[in-house]
């Protein structure tokens, strides 16, 4: 139990292309994580599908628009909607990212980084407390992938996360792929990062693929998890003693069974064996795609657009 939360096992991010498979076959997945913004306003098929899935599987809500680090006011209407949906689908917890998404009333729909310093720390911890009061539950915040470092930062990200979590009493969603991506982008040791976060506050782990652009990486969620990220996961598993684990796959999404097989690989890093009959795909390596041109094309994972069904 971490901040009162159970280890839910190995889960998957719920994506539109897999709705039919999940509803018809009811696969043996331990739990699903939803993108909160895709459902809090839905009155159509997405909400209907979610309600059916929530009857059979534990649901965790993962958001991208709380903008906890923004200097704009918190969006109370948005938070109320999160709270209502969480009650409706019995969400086990609500998570978002340590980031800001916009300022001056705008939303860039990106997970933008904050400078890691005392001013930001005071700002973010105060807002986490407010959000937790509104939601009436601990908030769980994820370390995002980032691509710039502010000259105004005075501490490493792991120190900021640690102090933020302890001072606001929130939980952490440790995205080991993001740790890896940021370690490449910011020239730090990802293992040092993992060694220095408060292990007892880590409620959940994220796994994903990314795009290696040669001199930097982009968190694209469009492929398999690479070995160095699995190694970070193994370490997270050791220091937590087992944790709710989720695979995100948001672009070039393969069939459901392939995505499911990818998250099941996590068992290799828990000291457990998969059943002999279960297929084991090879791990991916981390090399730039041929012809990759730095600073072009790959885009960090977007929100999903749900295509309307029209007769």
């Amino acid at each position: 139990m971490r901040l009162g939360h159970d280890n839910l096992g190995l889960g998957l991010g719920l994506r539109t292309v897999h709705y039919r498979d999940i509803l018809e076959r009811q696969p043996k997945v331990d739990w699903f994580e939803i993108i909160s913004e895709n459902f809090i306003d839905s009155g159509g098929r997405p909400r209907y599908v979610l309600e059916q899935i929530a009857e059979r599987y534990p649901i965790v809500m993962h958001g991208v628009s709380m903008s906890i680090g923004s200097t704009d006011p918190l969006d109370r209407e948005y938070l109320d909607k999160l709270k209502r949906l969480a009650r409706h689908v019995n969400a086990r917890w609500i998570s978002d990212h340590l980031c800001w998404t916009g300022v001056a009333g705008r939303n860039t729909h990106d997970l933008l980084p904050v400078p890691f310093n005392e001013q930001t720390l005071r700002h973010v911890t105060e807002r986490i407390r407010i959000v937790q009061d509104i939601l009436e539950r601990p908030l769980v915040l994820e370390n995002p992938s980032s691509y710039v470092t502010f000259a105004d930062s005075t501490m490493p990200e792991w120190e900021f996360l640690t102090r933020m979590a302890e001072e606001s009493d929130c939980g952490l969603l440790l995205d080991v792929n993001n740790v890896y991506v940021s370690s490449v982008n910011h020239d730090f040791d990802p293992h040092e990062y993992l060694d220095n976060i408060p292990h007892e506050r880590v409620v959940q782990c994220h796994l994903a693929g990314h795009t290696n652009c040669g001199t930097y990486c982009i968190d694209t969620h469009d492929g398999r998890v690479i070995d160095p990220v699995w190694e970070l996961y193994a370490k997270a598993h050791r220091f937590t003693g087992g944790i709710s684990t989720l695979l995100e796959w948001d672009a070039s999404i393969p069939p459901f069974d392939e995505v499911h097989a990818e998250v099941l690989k996590a068992k290799r890093y828990m000291g457990e064996q998969l059943p002999a009959a279960e297929p084991m795909a090879a791990n991916a390596s981390d090399s730039p795609p041929s012809g990759a041109h730095p600073l072009s094309e790959p885009v960090p994972h977007p929100l999903h657009h749900v295509a309307p069904e029209v007769a």
């Binding site: 159509g44 860039t108 710039v148 910011h186 020239d187 600073l295």
Partner: protein, 302 residues
Amino acid sequence: MSKGVPNMDQPRPDLVRIQRWMQSVISHPDGIEQGISSAEARAEIDVPLSQIEQVILPSQHNSSVDRLKVYGNAYYARLLECLRESFPVTAKMLGKETFDQFAFGYLQQFPSTSYTLGRLGDSFFDYLQQTRPDREQRAAGEISWPDLLIDLAHLEWTIEQVFDGPGVEHAAPLSVEQLAAIPVDRWEEARLVPVECLRLLKFSFPVNEYFTAVRNDESPPMPSPEPSWLGVTRRDYIVRRIPLSRPQYVLLSALQHGVTVGEAIERAAKEVDDLDRLAADLRQWFHQWAAAQLFARIEFAE
């Protein structure tokens, strides 16, 4: 951590200024370098391009500007992709490059202000109307290709809103049998309340047929201007399109505005020459519309 030392002689910008600065830099339509040099960015943090390392540090392999470009590239790419997905047939009609030009202009004039990308296209239809190149001719009543573009965008946005908006799947819309059971002497004073998800649209072009053809990967010629009317609703979580005649559109619009059936029929009658034919048609229309679950309930005056 990355190399680079901030210039500590300068007062450090606070978080508000850093965020306003970064947002204006990464969303600048001409790119990161122009963004850093823009008046909007320099009003927040007055740092020239040559001294950008005072704000953003370089990494071992990438310059500060190149690092910011990751966010700059992603900003428009993500939002353009979202608009292309919201307006797939409009994008197909225009071609990706032309559609992106429209969408790029739109995003500058109407940047997202919502927590959800589901609202990103809210003003696209208005934007196309405001920026059409032939406003003077349109004001004089001329119909031309921008009207087709505007009609198509209007239809696609309506479909998107109806698909994920409130519906009647968990309600019991008025059935054909319930409609038939209304006493004849109470028919005129009755108010038929359309379902919440019904939208009534009027177009300058036969856009529904064009939409269907493009969606089916056909390459239809540009249609000639011709007024058309359409109902868009949802049943069993699927969006349904119901082609309407002008009298039908007028009748349903009147009901949507809350007038009695008698008053609505009077308004529709003004649109037809043959009243006997209308009287014969009305029974069939209401039957079809009830079967299509267009009415939520019937109300009578106390």
